[in-house]
């Protein structure tokens, strides 16, 4: 299958490893990955902060860039959530654009959804001999309803010791600009999430949203806990020790 990668602005700017891993994984599974160079951002930050007018050109760009492809995959639950739940609504003033946005949104997938629902695989042939706990992230859980798909993928990874995260479904406190506008509340939520991660004694906290990982990882790093945050794609792409 020919798959278009939507990298997302955050992965592009800060954590390209998640993007590279997504490419390597999909290619290893025998698919052709393309990177449409016209892409920039889904516009979620602007919509969610109250700037739908500024987001509109970004949404148009997203639609025009990805319209030609039969499937679009992004290593981010929240960006896919925005594409599916916000694009058509924000573009409602331009019904033609809104209809096109809805059509592209229906072909845009978060990585774990794409692997399990579209490609029908749970064993991606990965090997990752570490103790890992998984944070499901709010937008993957409640906007996309990915359910246990990420866990089903992780359970098939050789050598991986998956430990349950207490209070997994609780928000980590990132919330986009929430982390900056309400820094104290965000930090209080983060503190509880970090405590839960540390309680698992995992070496790695994984998720499929780079933004949440950046937040949790940033806190864990500040406290010098030694626990790493890793994107789901990086684990699934890994052949470590095999």
């Amino acid at each position: 299958m020919r798959i278009a990668l939507f990298l997302t602005c955050l992965v592009d700017a800060v954590v390209p490893a998640a993007g590279k891993a997504t490419v390597e994984l999909l290619e290893r599974l025998g698919h052709e990955v393309v990177f449409p160079p016209g892409q920039t951002c889904c516009g979620q930050m602007h919509v969610n902060t109250g700037y739908p007018g500024e987001a509109l050109p970004l949404i148009r760009r997203y639609v025009e860039t990805f319209e030609p492809y039969e499937a679009v995959v992004a290593p981010s639950g929240s960006c896919v959530g925005s594409v599916r739940h916000q694009h058509a609504a924000v573009a409602s003033g331009d019904p033609a654009l809104a209809a096109r946005a809805a059509a592209v949104a229906a072909r845009t997938y978060e990585l774990s959804e794409f692997l399990v629902d579209v490609l029908g695989v749970t064993d991606v042939g990965a090997s990752y001999p570490h103790r890992v706990t998984y944070h499901p992230t709010c937008h993957s859980l409640r906007l996309l309803r990915v359910g246990d798909k990420p866990l089903r993928l992780l359970r098939e990874v050789r050598g991986l010791d998956l430990v349950e995260l207490p209070g997994a479904e609780e928000c980590c406190g990132f919330g986009g600009t929430f982390a900056v506008k309400n820094a104290d509340t965000s930090t209080a939520m983060l503190a509880d999430k970090m405590r839960a991660v540390l309680d698992t004694r995992a070496e790695v906290c994984a998720a499929s949203d780079s933004s949440c990982l950046l937040h949790i990882g940033g806190g864990l790093s500040r406290l010098r806990t030694g626990v790493r945050t890793v994107h789901l794609a990086e684990i699934l792409a890994s052949r470590e020790g095999s």
Binding site: V34, H46, T49, R142, G173, G175, A179, A183, T187, G218
Partner: protein, 481 residues
């Protein structure tokens, strides 16, 4: 002559705004006792609610029915309110219409004064808190006694409620004991000197104190959970029975009700009497459901229908579903922001996720511009809401209506501009690499300049990558794609 074309917003006397949320939240978060009280209480009630909701096989259908009934009601609100007025009047009650808090307070005060009473007993009511009725009565020399246990604790503690359903959620038993000992004697029957902080002892002290109030009272003031338009029936749903004492004992009953509390028919109540107790207290059924239609013999009944910004909410197609709210407080109990900050941080008597929506809607968004941001948009509130109010989407909608700080607007615009073309975006990414030189520690960034300094107050940021994804892609896959 001036022609008034807009809809009235909640007037300034309303208890719907306070300090900006981030500042108020900071103070609450620093209070570790408060955080512990809140964390324990919300965790307990969350678990109870999940259990009893889980045992209803058709919960999803009930929830959809609740939403549909309320939407139908809102679509026909003017006609249904007139129907309610006719039915209440036909049964010997008197209906009053109040545009805002000032008008409602004036009506209620005059009604109490007409009876000659200088004391009233109150059933727990959000509507009367919203309009600041107790304060208005006090200014007129009338003492209003709260009879709900938690409200009593709040009132005696000279405090304000911090939760819709459990107003004293922020207090623990030891604090309550102290309040009872200190305050009860000043306003009525004192607490026993040997009062302990065991729940039965505290409840018993409250019971004795309140009994005297019930027996003395000639006027009662209540809110209403529901009103049935076709029969003019008002309903109060509660756990302690104190509301029923207020509704039945005094000679005059005054009910203040937001105009959205309506349901069309008696049959529609069935849905809500299942949704409400399970969502709010985590009980299968609440212990006391009182219903009355108009006045009973020997009693005078007045119904005050309150707008106070509600028709303004109704006029917004993207926001009106907030009026479906049945004040169950399920959204508060699952909200991670509420759990850390408590209700006072919201500055409004409507705290938590629904308060963050409803308060700015009722006052006008510019009066409450920080509340729509008092959420991480995690969506837990939407999942918990028994009438399926999509609170996160409404918050986002409100965020587009509040006035934005100039500096933020400039940043948002320039980021959008940079993202407007891949060429400009590539330049921005190249510039961000300069960030590799900023306050580094162990290969990570630990100091960002304002307005991003909020991030680095508690978190590091990885250094921008030495090789961007695009460069990696070109190196490994070539240019064409």
């Amino acid at each position: 002559m001036t022609v008034f074309l807009g809809l009235p917003r909640a007037d300034p006397e309303s208890h719907l705004h306070g300090a900006p949320f981030p500042q108020a939240a900071r103070a609450a978060i620093a209070d570790t006792q408060l955080r512990r009280n809140l964390g324990n209480a919300t965790a307990t009630i969350r678990a109870k609610r999940a259990r009893v909701v889980g045992e209803v096989p058709d919960w999803a259908a009930l929830r959809a029915a609740g939403a549909a009934i309320k939407d139908d009601t809102l679509a026909r609100l003017p006609e249904l309110l007139v129907q309610l007025e006719e039915a209440v009047t036909a049964r010997g009650g008197t209906v009053h219409w109040a545009r805002d808090a000032t008008e409602a307070n004036r009506i209620v005060t005059a009604l109490v004064q007409a009876t000659g009473a200088d004391e009233v007993v109150k059933v727990k009511s959000m509507a009367t808190q919203e309009i600041g009725l107790n304060e208005a009565l006090e200014a007129a020399g009338i003492a209003a006694w709260e009879t709900d246990l938690a409200e009593l604790i709040v009132q005696l503690g000279h405090d304000t409620p911090s939760h819709i359903l459990v107003p004293a959620i922020h207090r623990n038993r030891a604090e309550i004991r102290e309040i009872f000992l200190r305050e009860m004697g000043r306003v009525g029957l004192p607490a026993p000197a040997d009062l302990t902080d065991s729940p039965p002892a505290l409840a018993d002290a409250a019971r004795r104190h309140l009994r005297q109030k019930f027996l003395d009272a000639r006027v009662a003031i209540s809110g209403a959970n529901f009103a049935v338009a076709s029969t003019g029936t008002l309903s109060v749903v509660e756990s302690e029975g104190n509301g029923r004492m207020c509704i039945t004992l005094p000679r005059t009953l005054i009910t203040v009700m937001g105009i959205e509390k309506l349901v069309p028919t008696w049959q529609d109540l069935e849905v809500f009497l299942q949704l409400l107790p399970r969502s709010s207290t985590g009980e299968r059924m609440n212990p006391y459901t009182s219903m009355w239609s108009g006045a009973v013999e020997g009693q005078e009944f007045h119904l005050v229908l309150l707008d106070n910004g509600r028709t303004a909410v109704l006029s917004d197609p993207e926001g009106r579903a907030a009026l479906r709210c049945i004040r169950c407080s399920a959204c508060l109990n699952v909200c991670p922001v509420y759990e850390r900050t408590g209700g006072h941080a919201y500055g409004s008597i409507y705290p938590g996720p629904i308060g963050a929506v409803l308060s700015p809607q009722m006052t006008g968004p510019s009066q409450n511009s920080t509340l729509p941001y008092a959420s991480s948009l995690c969506g837990a509130c939407y999942d918990a809401c028994p009438v399926a109010i999509d609170i996160p989407s409404m918050l986002v909608h409100l965020r587009s209506q509040v006035p934005h700080p100039a500096a933020e607007r400039a940043v948002m615009r320039s980021v959008a501009y940079a993202m407007g073309s891949p060429r400009r975006w590539a330049v921005a990414l190249a510039v961000s690499k300069a960030g590799r030189l900023l306050g580094r520690r162990r290969g990570r960034l630990s100091t960002l300049p304002p307005p991003l300094s909020g991030w680095t107050s508690s978190r590091d940021l990885p250094l921008p990558p030495a090789e961007s994804f695009r460069d990696w892609w070109t190196r490994t896959h070539g240019d064409g794609s």
